[in-house]
């Protein structure tokens, strides 16, 4: 894809996401905002132009939401987390060094915000087995042995999502973050290292241990189910 195509796509998406009145207002403050690079908008924000930051939010909100949605339980929490990411970014904009792209810097903030949320959630952790509904035990064995696809049924899909959340809650916030980033976002070790600042070796070890712990929990769930049957 050529740069011109990319630019026109950016322009098209920007036109789609903004209302006409808001667009007019911003054009007054920024001129045609699409001609500015992210870094230029950052500099404008640092000089006190909040319309520039509004444009940055507009450009990156979907990207940030896509990241944080893997760490939240519902749409409301995703929205709150995404807002928090941009607020943190705004107040720490002075620390942006203009070496890496703005989006990379934003993804780091999103990762740490996600980790903070997971930490809060692990602090409120309750008895793990009590979270599982009895129906979950009933159909899990049949799904696994018969090779059915439970994802087509929304109720069963929800059950599986709940089980995943419960299994992940066994882990520490940091391990949960790594597992979710690798399992849901499909992040590589290198990407995880860039986002967290941890070494690749440390991430590998943490992922290995976290997966082992999670499998142990799932094994307990399956055994509990078997006893029940």
């Amino acid at each position: 894809m050529t740069a011109v195509q990319v630019l026109s796509m950016k322009h098209f998406s920007a036109v789609l996401t903004r209302g006409p009145a808001m667009g007019e207002r911003r054009r007054e403050a920024l001129g045609d905002s699409n001609i500015f690079k992210d870094e230029e908008l950052v500099q404008k924000t640092l000089k006190g132009n909040d319309s520039a930051f509004e444009e940055l939010i507009r450009r990156h909100k979907r990207y940030v939401m896509a990241i944080v949605s893997h760490y939240s339980r519902d749409a409301q929490e995703t929205d709150d987390m995404a807002q928090e990411v941009f607020i943190k970014a705004y107040f720490s904009l002075k620390t942006f060094k203009f070496k890496a792209p703005f989006q990379h810097w934003l993804s780091r903030i999103a990762s740490f915000t996600a980790m903070d949320h997971l930490r809060k959630r692990t602090r409120q952790k309750e008895d793990l087995f009590s979270d599982l509904r009895p129906e979950c035990y009933d159909w899990l064995e049949s799904v696994l042995s018969a090779g059915l696809n439970p994802l087509s049924d929304s109720r069963q899909k929800k059950e599986l999502e709940d089980l995943l959340e419960t299994a992940l809650s066994v882990l520490s916030a940091e391990d949960q973050f790594l597992m979710r980033a690798a399992g849901l976002e499909g992040c590589s070790i290198q990407e995880l290292s860039q986002r967290t600042g941890w070494s690749g070796a440390l991430i590998k070890v943490r992922l290995f241990r976290a997966r082992k712990k999670m499998r142990k929990y799932l094994e307990r769930v399956l055994n509990a189910e078997k006893k029940k049957i």
Binding site: D50, F53, E54, I57, R58, K61, R62, M65, A66, V68, S69, H70, A75, T78, D79, A82, Q83, F86, I87, Y90, F91, L140, V143, L144, P150, L151, K157, L160, E161, L163, L164, A167, G183, L184, M214, R215, L218, E219, L222
Partner: protein
Amino acid sequence: MTPDEKSKKLDKLEKLLWESKKTDPEAVPGDDFEKRVLNRIQKQKSEPENEPLLRVMNRLAWKVLPVAASLFFFFSVLSFSEGQKNEDWLNLIMNQDESWNSSWLEENIK
């Protein structure tokens, strides 16, 4: 069930669990997302702890506090030692007085 079968079953369950979450619809920002963020930023800016003057004072307080504590400690030690000196001086006078009294008594008795 053999360990191999158990492991395969767990693999399957794990895959299913991740797939269940992956197929969630893409999160879409709500209406006026930008406005809501900017409103929250403005609100946080106007909070007292975010006032520039208070922020500077807060930062300064952490720098000044150890210096002030050290100075306070230094002057307390100094005044204590001065006090001690005064006490010694008083004792000296008292002792001198006593010696004077005793010599006066001795002379008068004679």
